[in-house]
């Protein structure tokens, strides 16, 4: 039991510390693909360090909500890091939240971020909040629907059980998962403010969503917000790996399987990050009103995955 708790803590700490590195890796890959040299993979750490050392500037009208939000959002993402089986499944805290609760935890962070953006009462803040919620109200159901296909396959909504079923049962091809994987990728891009929906590199106000939301934040608050965003990206990546490439995640808590998991994780994340960068480089930003269409397609694809599963495997 103690070992399990130690691994649980270790997994969370590892994810929290790795998150900026993963974001740095994606950015570095993007730079390489665009024939730039890039700032290096450690740049997010430097940014965080710089931000933490600065004095915070708050708008006059900022309320308690504005100051509490960075901590709450960071807390949500750390909690997600506890629950998602990154290294090992079946850890002590993982039964506290299944995939539906996980979506709820992400929603909690998002609602607070949108409210904080409206708190100051600037045009950009409210516009960002509106756009964020616009993306979210479609992305959230899409994500739930994505989860439902593996949930039906493994007869469980617990991520640990899903990983067990997909990785350690005799290998079966689940066509429904193909649909779900594409939908998940679309949701990942939308939810993490990546390219077809939002451009993480831009500071041009009219095209941005995420940057408009955090425009008023500075110093340690901004650092926490950025770190939380990095964590969210990594959380989505590890969720995707758990659902669609669960091989290597330790099932039992013993030395060899944990070392295997520790060896698999960087490889899988490196590949996933590079693929993400490639995908972003290949796509162009959509107009804001194409975004709901993009997400509606993700939603319908996920539903279709569910249907395909019911059609092909449900009857059997």
């Amino acid at each position: 039991m103690n070992a399990a708790i130690a691994i649980q803590l270790g997994q969370a700490v590892l994810v929290v510390l790795l998150a900026p590195l993963f974001a740095g890796w994606v950015n570095q890959c993007r730079a390489w693909l665009q024939n730039r040299r890039g700032p290096g993979m450690l740049q997010p750490y430097r940014v965080l360090r710089k931000l933490f050392h600065k004095d915070a500037v708050l708008a006059h009208r900022a309320s308690f909500l504005f100051r509490a939000t960075p901590y709450i959002r960071f807390g949500c993402m750390v909690l997600a890091a506890y629950i998602i089986p990154t290294l090992a499944s079946g850890l002590p805290i993982s039964p506290a939240a299944d995939v539906i609760a996980l979506v709820g935890i992400f929603a909690l962070g998002r609602v607070f971020m949108a409210l904080a953006a409206m708190d100051i009462g600037t045009a950009f803040g409210t516009m960002g909040a509106r756009r964020e919620m616009l993306v979210a109200f479609l992305a959230e159901p899409a994500l739930l629907m994505v989860f439902f296909t593996p949930a039906l396959i493994s007869q469980s909504t617990s991520l640990s059980t899903i990983v067990h079923t997909l990785a350690y049962q005799p290998f079966v091809i689940h066509p429904g998962l193909a649909f779900a994987a594409i939908a998940f990728l679309m949701v990942l891009l939308a939810e993490n403010a990546r390219l077809p929906i939002d451009n993480p590199a831009t500071h041009l106000e009219l095209t941005m969503i995420h940057e408009a939301l955090v425009l008023e934040y500075s110093a340690r608050h901004l650092a926490l917000m950025d770190w939380a965003s990095n964590l969210k990206l990594l959380a989505y990546a590890t969720m995707g790996l758990a659902l669609f490439a669960p091989w290597g995640i330790a099932r039992t808590i013993d030395g060899p399987s944990l070392w295997l998991a520790l060896a698999c994780l960087p490889v899988k994340l490196a590949v996933a990050g590079a693929a993400l960068a490639l995908l972003e480089t290949l796509s162009a930003k959509l107009r804001i009103f194409r975004a709901p269409e993009f997400l509606a397609m993700a939603f319908l694809l996920a539903v279709l995955g569910l249907l395909t599963h019911v059609l092909l495997e449900g009857a059997a």
Binding site: F52, D55, A56, L58, A59, H60, R61, S63, Y71, F74, G75, C76, L79, A96, A97, D98, I100, A101, G104, I105, A107, L108, V111, L115, M118, D119, I120, G121, T122, A123, F124, G125, T126, A129, R130, R131, M133, L134, A136, F137, L138, A139, E140, P141, M145, A151, Q155, S156, T157, S158, L215, R220, F289, P292, F299, V303, L306, L307, V310, G314
Partner: protein, 671 residues
């Protein structure tokens, strides 16, 4: 001992009801004294709520207990009975009534429409009639109580009757309430199956079969649906809720809609025998449409109480989805899954009673302190009304369905019920149910959007009107009332296993199946579905984990980097002069929804031309149903009545001639 307990429950409920009645009548003693009415009678009314809730809590685990009241017509005494189903709804009524009554004690002020004494009578009669609806054991008492409830709430809705639009709202409400009541009456007529006995026990014993059962079901669905705001019958809700004083809106939305759910459950699960599978599908589909429709319309509203009214429609839709699933599972004899879905429905009922009442009360405080209902003229109230803003934040988060609050628990249970759907023996159903889950998640996503809009526009940002600077926080009674409901939201959110155990007698009564055994397989911290490895959720761990991470982060950052803060103006992109008018309006917030779901709304836009001296932009998003269903019916009625009006000449002898002719014709027919 068991008998004593159940009799005690009935006694408590009746005492509570009588107490409400007495308090109401006491209001007539000094009808103009605000102190007597508000400070003394309304808190006393809250005590009645406690009695009713206590009666419900006592009755829940007991066997059903019945009594005959020495009231009513000769040979037709009133039968009352408290079983687990009515006990649950009594608890709901009592808990919500306590909060709303305490709030009302601080809310009602002099000089608004109806005299305070009259208001007090109507309010307490409304409460008492709802309690009576829940304990009625014959159709006769049920209808009397039902109509009393409709009438008293009608008077409450029109308490500000000097405004024509409020009279109109009241009229629509009364009309639909009566059309619904007629349908319920007819349904009971079918249910008594020629026995001539309108006591529920006799209906239960002689449940109609086949087509008659379906007729009774459809009539009941129509009748109770009209009260609950089911899709084509929802139009009264967004009119009546904003018109009523806020505590009344809270009661109507939080509790009265649930009496309709109670009636539907009573007829479908108790009085009628085994259901047919398409009943469940009908409820499910209507519930899905209602939920998505309500959420969509809530997103485009600009009046805060209308927004909440549409959100009520959405929540009723969610409850109906769960009931539809439960009925379907019951029809295919899958009692465990039916119990899961039914638990989700009941859980959502009590959740909605708490958070919707809370939000309506919060809008009441906002209304009192700013005199504004229009979202476009509010904003920034978090600074001037901090406690109301805090309570409303909890309510908004709960209704948006985020953990660890209560709205999430019922949503979670319902989604689990969807996912637990094994292969039903009907292939179309098997494929439609994932689509149902999709529609449900969509409405849940929209609910989050709506709540960010609601909360953000009212409480955050800069005040949109200069007058808002004088807004003041709510008084202590109002705050106490809201705090009571907030406590309920938090408790329901953090202790789901306890609540499921409390709800379980309803499952065993209606489905002969309990859920708490499978729900508690992982210990008291977790709520599980069917098996621990299948799905589990522990709000307490989520909450404590969150709290500890937040606290640790905060302390670490404070300790390591200090807490220095410099205040400054917000970033204005180099254009000085940031005014409150630059914020998003409520219309702006609703605009994307309007654009995405454009065919669903009847949109009328008035766009300015470049040459307008005073450009005006106006856009309304109306309900198609009003134009497609209601206006044609109204026109038809008018035409028919004009046609019949030909018979009227105003001469008495002519009318007597009609009577004579009718009599003669009838005699001829009979002979």
């Amino acid at each position: 001992m068991a008998l004593e307990g159940s009799q005690l429950a009935i006694a408590l409920v009746l005492v509570g009801g009588l107490h409400w009645f007495a308090v109401g009548m006491a209001g007539l003693a000094v009808p103009q004294s605000l102190f007597w009415i508000a400070r003394i009678l309304f808190p006393l009314g809250a005590l009645g709520g406690l009695a009713v809730a206590a009666g419900g809590v006592v009755a829940l685990p007991q066997e059903p207990a019945a009594a005959i009241l020495p009231l009513g017509l000769p040979d037709l005494p009133f039968h009352v009975r408290v079983d687990a189903l009515s006990a649950f709804f009594l608890v709901l009524l009592g808990i919500a009534a306590v909060g709303v009554s305490i709030f009302s004690a601080g809310y009602f002020r002099a000089g608004q429409g109806t005299a305070p004494g009259l208001l007090c009578v109507q309010y307490h009669v409304f409460l008492a009639s709802m309690a009576l609806v829940l304990v009625a054991d014959d159709a006769y008492l049920f209808m009397v109580a039902w109509e009393t409830m409709a009438l008293s709430s009608y008077f409450l809705v029109t308490s500000n009757h000097r405004m024509p639009e409020i009279r109109r709202a009241g009229f629509i409400y009364l009309l639909i309430a009566h059309v619904g009541a007629v349908a319920i009456l007819l349904s009971y007529g079918v249910l008594q199956a020629g026995q001539g006995d309108y006591v529920f026990s006799s209906m239960r014993a002689h449940a109609p079969q086949g087509a008659w059962a379906s007729t009774a079901f459809v009539l009941a669905l129509f009748g109770f649906g009209a009260k609950a705001g089911l899709l084509p019958l929802h139009v009264w809700l967004p009119e009546a809720h904003p018109a009523a004083p806020s505590p009344v809106s809270a009661l109507m939305s939080g509790v009265m809609l649930k009496t309709a759910i109670y009636g539907l459950l009573r007829v479908t699960f108790d009085l009628l025998g085994a259901p047919q599978w398409w009943w469940g599908v009908l409820i499910l589909v209507l519930g899905l449409l209602t939920a998505v429709f309500g959420a969509m319309f809530a997103a485009v509203q600009t009046d805060m109480k209308r927004l909440l009214a549409y959100s009520s429609i959405e929540n009723i839709g969610v409850v109906l989805i769960a009931i539809g699933l439960a009925t379907t599972f019951r029809a295919y004899s899958m009692p465990l899954l039916a119990a899961l879905a039914l638990t989700a429905a009941l859980y959502h009922c009590i959740n909605h009673a708490l958070f919707k009442s809370l939000l309506f009360l919060a809008t009441g405080s906002v209304l009192h302190s700013t005199k504004e209902r229009n979202l476009g003229k509010l904003g920034g109230l978090v600074h001037s009304m901090p406690s109301v803003a805090f309570f409303a934040l909890i309510g908004a988060l709960a209704i948006a369905g985020v953990p660890p609050l209560n709205g999430f628990v019922s949503e979670w249970l319902l989604l689990q019920a969807f996912l637990a759907t094994p292969s039903l023996p009907n292939s179309y159903l098997n494929m439609l149910i994932p689509l149902g889950a999709a529609a449900l998640t969509l409405s849940a996503g929209l609910a989050g959007y709506v709540m960010v809009k609601f909360y953000g526009v009212i409480f955050l940002g800069q005040p949109r009107e200069p007058a808002l600077a004088h807004a003041h926080d709510a008084g202590w009674l109002e705050r106490l009332g809201m705090a009571w409901l907030v406590a309920g939201c938090v408790a329901l959110g953090l202790l789901p296993l306890k609540i499921v155990a409390i709800l379980d007698p309803v499952n065993s009564l209606l489905l002969a199946q309990t859920l708490s055994e499978t729900a508690g397989r992982s210990g008291w911290l977790f709520i599980t579905v069917l098996a621990p490895e299948r799905a589990s959720y522990s709000p307490l761990i989520v909450f404590c984990g969150m709290l500890s991470v937040v606290a640790a982060t905060f302390l670490a950052v404070r300790f390591r980097y200090g807490g220095r803060v410099r205040r400054s103006d917000p970033w204005d992109c180099g254009h000085p002069g940031l005014t409150p008018r630059m914020q998003d309006t409520a219309e702006g917030f609703g605009q994307p929804i309007k654009q995405i779901f454009e065919p669903m709304f009847r949109i009328e836009r008035q766009l300015p031309t470049p040459f307008d001296e005073r450009p005006v932009y106006r856009a309304t998003a109306d309900d198609h149903f009003w134009y497609w269903a209601y206006l044609p019916v109204a026109r038809l009625t008018e035409r028919v009545s004009r046609w019949i009006g030909v018979l009227q000449h105003g001469r008495i002898s002519l009318y007597l001639l009609y009577s004579l002719a009718t009599l003669v014709v009838l005699l001829l027919v009979v002979s």
